[in-house]
């Protein structure tokens, strides 16, 4: 590694300016648990590193009066876990973020970094998709918002325009009777990468699903919102027919590859299994049973 400029601007405006000024030679640094690995193995050779952890907006968590949550892009998993309310409202999103790496990695890794790295197997993303998170993005041309599922563009690629920075996530207000869950399949028990990951968010009333969202990871070039699976669940009492239909929709949505981490056949089957299991947990949480 040769000379690298390190900047840690205290405001978003300064970060955006510095990032634009570097004209593509700079990289944003959140926790660095992806970026530093890439720099070590020669896949990234930035001239400038812009550390966003000094920017209050990007490291804060807040619950608005309407019940929606703001999670700054650079908030680490460990900090989010310590928030007194976030995990009770969004247990599935929290468990997805907390699955990343180990205790050491949790002290650094952020949901923003997880999303911006662009991996189809990123653990927090299917849970964020299921949650219906909306992103705030800042760039040379100002701010914009984007649903999280519209963000990934392919393995290692995102829809951030040149010079844009992800500022954070807004998770919508939670109606009563809501619950979410995230499950991933890994061959080991930890320190592994998802072969398939499924996030489910449900709202239920009187045992009937009134709203549902399903996010599917590691089963296609990008994390997917599986609308057909959600459709199969809404209006049902999560009876076998509805669950099986949703599971089949998850399998049908898979466009996986055969690779060292899993086969097409295996991933397609597992997507269905995880949908069933995650839906059951989300339903228990929605109905206050867990």
């Amino acid at each position: 590694m040769t000379d690298i400029r390190y900047l840690a601007p205290p405001t978003l405006d300064e970060a955006v300016r510095a990032f634009a000024a570097a004209q593509g030679a700079a990289r944003i640094l959140a926790g660095g648990t992806d970026l530093l690995v890439q720099m070590r193995n020669g896949m990234a050779r930035p001239g400038t590193i812009i550390d966003i952890k000094k920017i209050p907006e990007m490291t804060s968590i807040s619950e608005a009066a309407d019940g929606s949550f703001w999670v700054g892009a650079a908030v680490s998993g460990a900090v989010l876990a310590e928030h007194p309310r976030f995990g009770t409202v969004w247990p599935g999103v929290l468990e997805a973020i907390n699955l990343i790496g180990s205790t050491q990695v949790q002290g650094r890794a952020s949901a923003g970094g997880n999303l911006c790295h662009g991996s189809p197997a990123a653990d927090s993303v299917p849970a964020m998709v299921a949650a219906g998170a909306v992103l705030t993005i800042a760039g040379p041309n100002g701010r914009r918002t984007l649903p999280v599922e519209a963000f990934p563009a392919g393995p290692g690629r995102t829809n951030l325009a040149a010079g844009e920075i992800l500022v954070g996530f807004t998770l919508p207000a939670r109606p009563a009777g809501s619950g979410d869950a995230y499950l991933r399949m890994i061959p080991r028990t930890e320190m592994d990468i998802a072969v398939v990951g499924v996030g489910v968010s449900l709202t239920m009333a009187g045992g009937v699903v009134t709203a549902a969202r399903v996010g599917l990871g590691a089963a296609a070039p990008t994390v997917l919102l599986v609308a057909d699976a959600a459709k199969a669940l809404v209006g049902s009492k999560l009876d076998d027919a509805a669950i099986n239909a949703a599971a089949a929709a998850c399998s049908a949505a898979c466009k996986p590859i055969d690779d060292k981490r899993g086969t097409i056949v295996y991933r397609t089957k597992v997507a269905a299994v995880l949908l069933k299991r995650a839906a059951a947990i989300a339903a228990d949480r929605a109905q206050g049973r867990a």
Partner: protein
């Protein structure tokens, strides 16, 4: 010496190297640096199989900051037609492994190396080296490599008179298998495959080398034998052994793979050419790509039994992957697979198959696990077919003292039965198992046994009494698994002094006599033997000194509890003389006190192990988790129980990885696809339960403390034990490792 009232032997003392290791002070391979030092990097072949038509290093040499470039021309060439052996290693293959000569034989094979003022410059220079390759078709798997039309790796290899990738055949025979099978009431024959697995040590290979102006070489590196480093470097560079000093660094794991070298001769030649000390450190990627895994295998085992379960004949055929150059551990499966059992008719045949993968290196009980995998799975099927308890079947057939093994040895005391009985009587084996605890979850229990030869061999020790009456013990063995702790216990016991007064050190090649590798479960056995004899000599000297002071006969002096005393009332009335007293008078009474012993040790009888495991299978995801694991083994005498347990637990965990998740994955281009700990799936802590070791202490009569080697045997049974447990859970048998989730799910879905 084996008494229960031992003060130190068998006690869990603090290990001599512990404080340095937990505080980050211990000096591993990559920790040594020197003034003026430069960095070496290796250029590796991008092709799995190619002729090297030429190498042009001129652009690399012209790059500012580059100090030296070496290729195969700088390494001693051992011609292909004449074998030159160093231990079990053939230098024809070693010289071609450290630097590709005529051909590159695997993706990652070293082709050239550069030393420069920084790693970055060295790396950049590697990219400037122009290699003219003639790319050849490659072959990776055994079944492809033994096909008649397979690409041939080596023209000089012949099998049955024809060019072949089968480099060697090993045949071991006992009795007449055809006659044996003719008597059988039941014969079961099955074929199995296993994948190459890496030893997975945390510390990558590294070394620092100085080549002084007078031609004397110093090497700092970690290995399983500094004398091996010296000898192999000498052979590959042509520098006499007397001019090479190999200093052993602390070692971060070897498990067999550090019984050979990769970097040292290359670094020596870079240092010689540049006139500067050179440091080389492999990346994890290089470790996976280019250092030895153990062989993958394809085997068939056939066993014939009478209705009562007695085995009348056994036959095994084992094809092992050698990698690009010959040398797979045939002796392991051929010799060990049937040796726990008393079988009159055995035919065991091994084939050494070359293909375009990195050359294998030793891995814990080399080759034995894959043989036991096949045998112990077939025995499980036999027990099932006969309706016999699985352990009873083994008890019925245990090898007998004085029995002859297929590999030629006659067995001495046999303690196999004891390991089987220990499991049979253990609460684990008798505990009820809820086979279907919840929907989609099934559980099963399996058992398997294993055998390892164990080894003695050359060891040296020196025991010196310091001027202030304390003790330094030096041996010539790198301490991989706690051997210093064991030696400290033995020395304290023999001299009758407090453990804290003893320092145990590992000598370099110039400060201690020749000592063979730390491997084959030999070091605690052999070094305790030479240390015991050294201590006995020192005690003899101490008694003589006391006798001289008291002016009595040395025979009339005893050494007891750290002091010399008159043997009895007839010897005279003298106050005891402590080690400190005698050390203080050393010079006036004849000079420094100390002794060394160098021996080719013998008497290492084989090791036996029997394991029991419970597994749980998630039938919808195909995931297998190990719930409970109990491992019984005859350890002879646990000089330091922590490190005996550690060996057993470590061996089992490596076996679990081998059985369930570890494998080398090659893509269609013949390149290794998973050269990282992320994708080469070794178990992590949370994947394994607490492994319960049952240490059976049945003293080995041929060893002063009763020691029996313990390091290898525990990796032998797990592969079959786990396969048998999965069968118990699912009612389905697996014939191929690893039993990874996609494979398990495919079998479940049928």
């Amino acid at each position: 010496m084996n008494a229960i009232d031992n003060k130190w032997i068998g006690k869990r003392t603090i290990r001599p190297d512990g404080a340095d290791k937990v505080t980050g002070r211990a000096g591993y391979s990559a920790d040594h640096s020197m003034p003026g030092m430069i960095w070496g990097r290796v250029l590796r072949s991008p092709h799995p199989h190619a002729v090297i038509r030429g190498i042009d290093t001129s652009k690399a040499e012209a790059l500012p900051g580059v100090k030296a470039v070496v290729t195969a021309k700088d390494i001693v060439n051992f011609p292909l037609d004449k074998s030159v052996m160093l231990g079990i290693q053939d230098m024809r293959w070693m010289c071609r492994n450290v630097m590709a000569r005529e051909k590159t034989l695997f993706h990652g094979h070293p082709v050239a190396a550069v030393a420069a003022i920084s790693e970055e410059v060295a790396e950049a220079a590697c990219k400037l080296i122009e290699v003219d390759y003639e790319v050849l078709p490659h072959v990776i798997e055994i079944e492809d490599a033994i096909k008649p039309d397979a690409p041939i790796l080596h023209d000089f290899v012949r099998h049955e008179g024809k060019p072949s990738n089968i480099a060697t055949t090993m045949v071991n025979k006992l009795g007449d298998v055809d006659a044996g099978f003719a008597q059988a009431d039941l014969i079961i024959e099955r074929s199995f495959t296993t994948r190459p697995v890496h030893q997975g040590y945390i510390e990558p290979h590294a070394c620092t080398v100085s080549y002084a102006a007078d031609g004397r070489v110093t090497i700092w590196s970690s290995s399983q034998g500094q004398f091996m480093v010296r000898a192999m470097t000498s052979l590959l560079t042509g520098i006499p052994q007397s001019n090479i000093r190999a200093i052993p660094a602390e070692i971060g794991g070897g498990f067999g793979a550090k019984t050979i070298i990769y970097l040292e001769p290359v670094a020596v030649m870079l240092a010689k050419k540049s006139g500067r000390p050179v440091k080389m450190v492999m990346s994890r990627d290089e470790v996976f790509r280019a250092t030895g895994p153990t062989s993958g295998s394809m085997s068939t085992v056939k066993i014939g039994v009478k209705k009562d379960g007695s085995i009348v004949a056994a036959q095994g055929t084992f094809y092992l992957q050698a990698g690009g150059l010959p040398g797979s551990p045939l002796r392991g499966p051929v010799g060990c697979s049937f040796s726990p059992y008393n079988i009159e008719n055995v035919l065991s045949v091994g084939y050494d198959v070359v293909s375009n993968r990195s050359k294998v290196a030793a891995y814990r009980a080399p080759g034995a696990p894959l043989g036991a995998y096949a045998t112990e799975c077939v025995l499980d099927e036999i027990a099932e077919a006969l309706g016999m308890d699985k352990l009873e079947l083994r008890l019925k057939n245990t090898a007998k003292p004085g029995g002859k093994t297929v590999y030629g040895a006659t067995l001495g005391a046999i303690t196999f039965k004891e390991t089987v009985e220990a499991i049979k009587n253990h609460p684990h084996y008798t505990a009820p198992l809820d086979k279907n605890p919840s929907k989609g979850v099934v559980r099963g229990r399996g058992v398997a046994s294993g055998f390892w030869f164990n080894a003695g061999g050359e060891s040296s020790a020196q025991l010196n009494i310091t001027e202030d009456g304390n003790v330094n013990v030096t041996t010539g063995h790198p301490d991989v698994g706690g051997s210093r702790a064991s030696i400290a216990n033995v020395t304290a016991e023999l001299l009758g002094i407090d453990h804290s007064r003893i320092s145990v050190l590992i000598g370099d090649t110039s400060s201690i006599g020749f000592s063979n590798l730390t491997g084959g479960s030999r070091v605690t056995f052999a070094s305790a033997m030479v240390v015991t004899q050294s201590a006995e000599k020192v005690i003899g000297q101490l008694k003589e000194r006391a006798a001289k002071i008291w002016k009595i006969d040395p025979e009339a002096v005893i050494w007891d509890n750290g002091e010399a005393r008159p043997a009895g009332p007839n010897a005279g009335q003298f106050p005891p003389l402590t080690l400190k007293d005698l050390a203080a008078k050393a010079n006036e009474m004849g000079g420094p006190i100390g002794a060394g012993v160098q021996l080719n040790t013998t008497g290492a009888d084989p090791g036996f192990a029997t394991h029991c495991v419970d597994v749980e299978v998630d039938v919808d995801l195909g995931i297998v988790r190990v719930l409970r694991y109990t491992a019984a083994q005859d350890v002879g005498r646990a000089l330091h129980p922590d490190y005996v347990e550690g060996q057993i637990q470590g061996g089992v965990v490596q076996g679990i990885g081998w059985a369930l998740s570890e494998e080398y994955l090659y893509n269609a281009k013949g390149q290794l696809d998973n050269a990282s700990f992320l994708d080469y799936r070794m178990p992590v802590c949370s994947d394994v339960p607490m492994i319960e070791p049952i240490m059976l202490e049945i003293p080995n009569p041929k060893h002063p403390q009763g020691v029996r080697g313990v390091g290898e045997a525990p990796i032998v049974p797990p592969l079959a034990a786990i396969a048998n447990a999965i069968h118990d859970a699912l009612g389905k048998r697996f014939y191929s490792l690893p039993m990874s989730p996609p494979k398990v799910l495919a079998v479940i879905d049928g």
